[in-house]
Symmetry: C2
Subunit: 573 residues, 2 copies
Amino acid sequence: MLQPLLLSLFLLLCPFSTESTPINVWPKPTNLTWTSPHQSTLLSPTFTITITTQHQNNHLSAAIIRYTNLIKTEHHRPLTHPTTNLSISNLPPLQSLTVTVTNPTAELTHATDESYTLTISTPNATLTASTPWGAMRGMETFSQLTYGNPTRVPVEVRVSDAPLFGHRGLTLDTSRNYYPVKDLLRTIEAMSMNKMNVFHWHITDSHSFPLVVPSEPMLAEKGAYDVNMVYTVEDVKRVVEFGLDRGVRVLPEIDSPGHTGSWALAYPDIVTCANMFWWPAESDWPNRLASEPGTGHLNPLNPKTYQVLKNVIRDVTTMFPEQFYHSGADEVIPGCWKTDPTIQKFLSNGGTLNQVLEMFINNTLPYIVSLNRTVVYWEDVLLDDTVHVSPTTLPKEHVILQTWNNGHDNTKRIVSSGYRAIVSSSDFYYLDCGHGDFTGNNSAYNNQTGSDANNGGSWCGPFKTWQTIYNYDITYGLTEEEAKLVLGGEVALWSEQADETVLDSRIWPRTSAMAESLWSGNRDEKGMKRYAEATDRLNEWRSRMVSRGIGAEPIQPLWCIRNPGMCNTVHPI
Amino acid sequence: MLQPLLLSLFLLLCPFSTESTPINVWPKPTNLTWTSPHQSTLLSPTFTITITTQHQNNHLSAAIIRYTNLIKTEHHRPLTHPTTNLSISNLPPLQSLTVTVTNPTAELTHATDESYTLTISTPNATLTASTPWGAMRGMETFSQLTYGNPTRVPVEVRVSDAPLFGHRGLTLDTSRNYYPVKDLLRTIEAMSMNKMNVFHWHITDSHSFPLVVPSEPMLAEKGAYDVNMVYTVEDVKRVVEFGLDRGVRVLPEIDSPGHTGSWALAYPDIVTCANMFWWPAESDWPNRLASEPGTGHLNPLNPKTYQVLKNVIRDVTTMFPEQFYHSGADEVIPGCWKTDPTIQKFLSNGGTLNQVLEMFINNTLPYIVSLNRTVVYWEDVLLDDTVHVSPTTLPKEHVILQTWNNGHDNTKRIVSSGYRAIVSSSDFYYLDCGHGDFTGNNSAYNNQTGSDANNGGSWCGPFKTWQTIYNYDITYGLTEEEAKLVLGGEVALWSEQADETVLDSRIWPRTSAMAESLWSGNRDEKGMKRYAEATDRLNEWRSRMVSRGIGAEPIQPLWCIRNPGMCNTVHPI
């Protein structure tokens, strides 16, 4: 091994090693200062992360091992050319990062304190956090400050950081297409790199039922795409633990009563309109049977529905320690329920579909609450024009609504009614949009003069660029009091046109854009939107994610990051 | 090893082995019959492909080895559930495929005969073709007919097949972002699976110059993104040979005089407006310096331009045996040339930009022709509104025009003027479109009510779905005589927002849609567009491509292929 002095001499002579790195941590910390003259030092070959806290937290211990390894082996090479020459020859190498956690037993729930303070001086750096989860965020920041081979780290850096929003999530649909467990883990790993904290797992839908539920094994046995395309109890445990080791909650969604066609393969009698053609030729749109191909709703009038569903709910709350339970309740389509004779009879006796839905909610919500869960529903349960329940059915202290329609308007409706909101506006946060209509036999595409109409057939098109996502202000138009009810946001990848082949590139780096926007905002010190300078930083960050094994898509030619600012537009477009 | 009888018994007892495969060859052959009762047999473990032709063609030999291995090891598992039970127990296994090529020395050029006849009876199958390239197409068809483990193949199958269009290509831009050689090879491999025959390699552009040109090594040394991000002479040889082994011509493009900013790093004096801001704040659109960030045009008034360029042309024609040479000539932007004092002087003396471009063409086209090349230009050289040359500058016998603007209209303009055309309409065939604008600092994305305007900022948006591509009729609106001048088409992947992370999913399976449309058309026997039935087949084919290592994106939930027809729409949208 070279002596430090020799090593420094080598670094001074070697062109690459004299390059500096801009300080580039994604998401950008709330406060970061790098005292002049902007020096870096080498990471000692014996560098360690040590913890001062007596009480051991297993998840934090796992994170320390992981980050120690990452920091020593990553050797990140920045894309940018040198901007300043760093003087490193006179500084002793960094020997350690000392982590102090004041509340080591804090659990990972919504609003867990994720703040941290990081000070890098040589020979030692210190990281202080209230919780293990804040310490993980701080270690991520530290890891992103290291670069080069041998590894260097800037010194006289002080970071004081905390997120703007407590809920920074990603919804992934594993029903329309299946994702192997390794892909879920890699996604959670990438979320953690971006300081995100909620993996909202939309596990089941009409297309397949991949979750092995111990007390209802038939659901996956019949409803999964394949015997190998399932998530076992062990798989779930692995995903949950993997998330906890990275500060990512795993929030399960069992969508119901709609989006349940796959349940009919095991229990045909509890599902209405299962496996029927979704939009019959004779029908207009209001009389379709489903919002898209793949029909089936649980039948709220059949007592057996609750027998099966409560088994599922109980087992899911056992498998997932997460405090929130997502019960779906989106897109209840009248035509589907109306195919059922018992529901027909109920309606002909003066009942309404709203009552049918209320019956369903009243038979399930209290049970979920009794299992100590806060219930998340899609906004439809309250806001759908056709079928919805009254607010009295949805106690505000137990219910959170996730919004996806009508942008800011629905967020406003939710929080002004006193409900907590998670924002997933499809106009801004739906990652699958803009790839056209997935239904076959679509004559719109037999147009010889172009297919520009209706965003290329994508109901939620166009494609949401990273800039679209970055600039979205989830509390826009709200009062200060209302804004407090916005827990945060989630981007969503629905999987009609996605599976493992495109998982990474559909999600990243666009999800990084939301991650920063919800962590430290999208404005600079002067209050101006900072999307111009964010472009260069996101290029760098995307490159680092790729070298960490995340297949994030490029946002610009490499030329742009090599020529900062030259790929901007200065014209309003 | 099991005896055939035991093996057959095993197959009868094992649920999967009784599944049949629909005949699914992509692109669909012109004529394929499978005589009832639709039987399959096993592939003998000693199965071989033998060639009856005395004269050996090395490329064909390589293909035979490759297909023998593929056929014996692929064991494709169809996505579909059984439609008919195949009786295989009484048939002897298939022992061999005998290949006969009547013209084994035929070279791979435009309009090379790619027809073939394939007859599968047991114990032997026969494949007859005029050329080695037709034989490769036939072996691909044979490989796609095999399935299962152990491998089975349908018998009493007769295929008589030939393409509708001789030019079925893909343009790939390796300048804006770089692709490692292995990615180019995998792309060519996938093209061959789809019976495509032209890899149009847009090698250089303003952003980087990755081609190592032996007589002008400085161009890559200075102009490539990195010392490792180049294509050496050996790399090119490997790509070319790889293509020939698969019936894919490698057509080089050295775009000029526009799109040459990267040349300025080695030769600043031959490039006008290099490295300037592309669209200055004071200018309106007609006064921009480039069509996008990355400025620079070769200067036609500088004799040194031709010295360098002719070295490049000579070396490129040496490295690439392909008969066509693509010289680009798209998007000449007046503002760029007008920054140059010598061009300013020429203009102030009454000269025109058209004359400047004509000077360029007259100084290069005859030289390329003298090297026995047919020159392909983008249509702009003749059709651009602002800067173009007169038809007399472009002899029809030596020039082919590739169209990308205005859909059918420009195809019509080209062929009605007597030029041969290659169709790459950006409204239908541009694979990069629909991902938004890549320029930074774009205020359009700071819109809190959605970004629907202008297709999400993508100039050529929306995204071109596979159905859009499949249904495009490249000779629409042409007379029979005009249609003969349409050589074929090329989809194009421009790489502003693409690199190796998304290469496969941007290209496949959408490019398969063009491959079938140009091979056997997009209509059924009754003359109706067949996009409905093509949906199921493309799902199957995409799945097979994925298992062959091509990361093609999914077009539907797996549920759709398991429930044929159920994901269609029957409503005009």
